[in-house]
């Protein structure tokens, strides 16, 4: 189910006259987060000598981002998702298209990270602690990429690939703040999970601060 809403917010027109490309704007507010937080028992039926018992997903957070006409990144952005204590760290990573993400293994056992998501299908094969070069993947198509480990079926992570450099992840209370935004008209999107993205249009004038609670 995809929830979309198109609402236009016109910021105070009587703001100080702004020159083109002038002072930056800010959007901040709070996202109403879903209450979902799952825990699961690790399957270790055939590994008597095992570790890990119950794993929990991190508390829900949302991603707030602006879509518009932004200049491309000057350098190839890099990011990393570690495998530590049989978990992805972070469990949610947001990157701009064209970002190369490294997947270092910090556990003393093999991991085998893969994704079948349409936005990026890959399989890194089995690799060990401190593998050199660090296995890495370029994410060049916007979309949701669900990460899994072939060996540890409870491991799950998400990379949200966005075609914009203007994004932020809320805190666990849903608070967010996007700053340093150029004036203009944008689509403001709020990603809650792989099935739910909220959308609205905002107009930003220079040197303004917009308070916007979502949805």
């Amino acid at each position: 189910m995809k929830i979309t809403g198109h609402h236009t917010l016109l910021l105070a027109a009587g703001l100080l006259a702004a020159t083109a490309g002038g002072w930056a704007a800010t959007i901040e507010g709070r996202v109403k987060l879903p209450k979902r937080e799952t825990t699961t028992v690790v399957n270790k039926r055939y590994e008597i000598v095992s570790r890990g018992g119950v794993v929990s997903t991190n508390p829900p957070v949302a991603v707030v981002y602006l879509e518009g006409d932004f200049p491309p990144a000057k350098a190839e952005p890099m990011a990393r998702v570690e495998q530590k204590d049989l978990m992805f760290v972070p469990q949610l990573l947001v990157v701009q298209t064209g970002t190369k993400v490294e997947f270092p293994n910090l556990d003393d056992t093999f991991h085998n990270i893969f994704s079948y998501s349409p936005a990026k299908r890959f399989d890194l094969g089995r690799y060990r602690t401190n593998e050199k070069p660090v296995p890495a993947v370029m994410f060049d198509t916007p979309g949701v990429v669900v990460l899994r480990c072939e060996i540890h079926e409870h491991m799950r992570g998400v990379i949200l690939v966005l075609a914009t450099p203007r994004f932020t992840v809320t805190d666990t209370e849903g608070r967010y703040r996007l700053e340093g935004l150029p004036a203009g008209t944008y689509r403001l999107k709020t990603w809650l999970d792989s099935q739910t993205t909220l959308e609205r249009t905002v107009q930003l004038a220079a040197d303004t601060s917009l308070r916007l609670d979502l949805p």
Partner: protein, 421 residues
């Protein structure tokens, strides 16, 4: 036929549906099957698999697959429970609905079984070497195949040769003479295909699949070494309908152990040993005077090895087994397999396995020496395609050669669709 097509169609529709929604539904179902106690001290997870298998086989059908038809369909539903109790306790169970533990001919009735259930407790303190105690009905600690025998993890549909190739040793009667042994092994006279099929329910392999027998196990880890020992009520070769038998003062348990060594993450080497009785618990009036069924023992020595690097995985095991037949002859056999798997793309992988088994010679009263079983080799090839993270399709072609045999080569083609949630 309509029912079979309906089951396959419904499973595919559920699994794939309109691809993404089907996948989402399975993932949501998986997430919703997690439960916990109010204080969080106990967590439960239910999961399951639907396995649809089809077999096209030539006579005589090899291994533990039993089919009076040359083509048959074998559906299976598995339900799993994993429970974490506090920080040290773990309980798991596996229930299945199918037509027998091993693929069986279509006229066998559908049955529901509790194949596995076990409670595991960690005895060690954090930071020290790990030590676990496990009680229940569970897979053997011997070898390395049991860790990947489940349909989703196994690169093949059938088990390796040591886990299914039948010897001439029975568990319902002790071998009375070498000539009878050779007849039961279909070595002399060379058995026809119907004869090979007819006595399949009596013959034993070296180790029967994962050997989910009742027992108690202790396992641990110390540095790069892993160790495990188990006491089971029945032996490694015991058939599935004996796995539920418990300990009794009249019986002697089977003792098995494995010592493993991991020189690095890529390698895992292990040595296993097992000794126990192989005759079933009936009275066995044909046992010669002065002997009891406790004298009919099976002893197994095994070595296993595995290696993994990036998209390549390799496993190998060799089993040396002796079935003691007092006053007749010992039946010695050596079986091994080498198995490799390579992932070509994120969703497509292929595996190949070479299996071989030899038997030691026995001498009859006429002074003729012959191998105590058919010398066998088999090659298995199996591609696997994962449609989603919850659905995979596997094919397997096997070519087996037995000597002596009326049909020197037997073939089988099988397909398996697995949906998990």
């Amino acid at each position: 036929m309509k029912t079979r097509t309906g089951i396959i169609g419904a499973t595919l529709a559920m699994a794939l549906g309109s691809a993404s929604p089907g996948q989402e539904a399975l993932e949501q179902l998986s997430d919703r099957l997690n439960f916990h106690s109010r204080d969080g001290s106990m967590q439960l997870r239910l999961s399951g698999t639907i396995e649809l298998e089809g077999y096209a086989i030539s006579d005589p059908v090899a291994d533990l697959v039993s089919g009076s038809a040359d083509k048959f369909f074998n559906p299976r539903f598995g339900l799993y429970l994993d429970a974490q109790v506090g920080t040290r306790g773990y309980f798991f169970a596996q229930g299945r609905v199918d037509r027998g533990f091993d693929p069986y001919y279509p006229d066998k009735q559908t049955e529901a079984r509790l194949d596995e259930y076990a409670l595991r407790m960690e005895l060690s303190e954090p930071g020290a070497g790990r030590l676990f105690l496990q009680l229940g009905k569970f897979a053997t600690v011997v070898g390395n195949w049991t860790k990947r025998h489940a349909a989703w993890d196994n690169p093949f549909i059938t088990a390796p040769l040591p886990y299914g190739n039948l010897t001439g040793v029975w568990d319902v009667f002790p071998v009375p003479s070498v000539d009878v042994l050779l007849a039961w092994a279909h070595v002399s006279p060379v058995g026809s295909a119907p004869a090979v099929l007819a006595d399949k329910e009596f013959r034993l392999p070296v180790i029967w699949g994962p050997a989910y027998a009742q027992g108690v196990a202790v396992a641990g880890k110390w540095g790069r070494f892993e160790y495990a020992g188990e006491l089971k009520a029945v032996g490694l070769s015991a058939r599935p309908d004996r796995w539920g038998e418990g300990f009794s003062t009249m019986e002697r348990p089977t003792m098995s152990a494995r010592l493993g060594w991991r020189p690095g993450p890529s390698w895992n080497l292990g040595f296993s040993a097992s000794t126990g009785e192989y005759l079933d618990r009936s009275d066995h009036p044909r046992i010669p005077t002065g002997l009891s069924r406790h004298d009919y023992r099976q002893t197994v020595l095994a070595h296993d090895l595995s290696y993994a690097w990036h998209h390549f995985q390799f496993w190998g095991e060799v089993y040396a087994a002796r079935f003691e037949v007092p006053r007749v002859a010992d039946v010695d056999t050596l079986a091994y397999y080498l198995e490799a798997k390579y992932r070509f793309t994120p969703q497509l992988s292929g595996a190949m396995r070479w299996n071989q088994q030899w038997f030691g010679e026995v001498t009859n009263q006429a002074g003729e020496s012959r191998p105590a079983g058919r010398q066998t080799w088999r090659v298995d090839v199996a591609p696997t395609y994962r449609l989603t993270t919850q659905v995979q399709v596997k094919l397997q072609y096997s070519l087996q050669h037995d000597r002596p045999s009326r049909e020197r080569y037997t073939q089988s083609l099988s397909a398996q669709l697995t949906v998990r949630f």
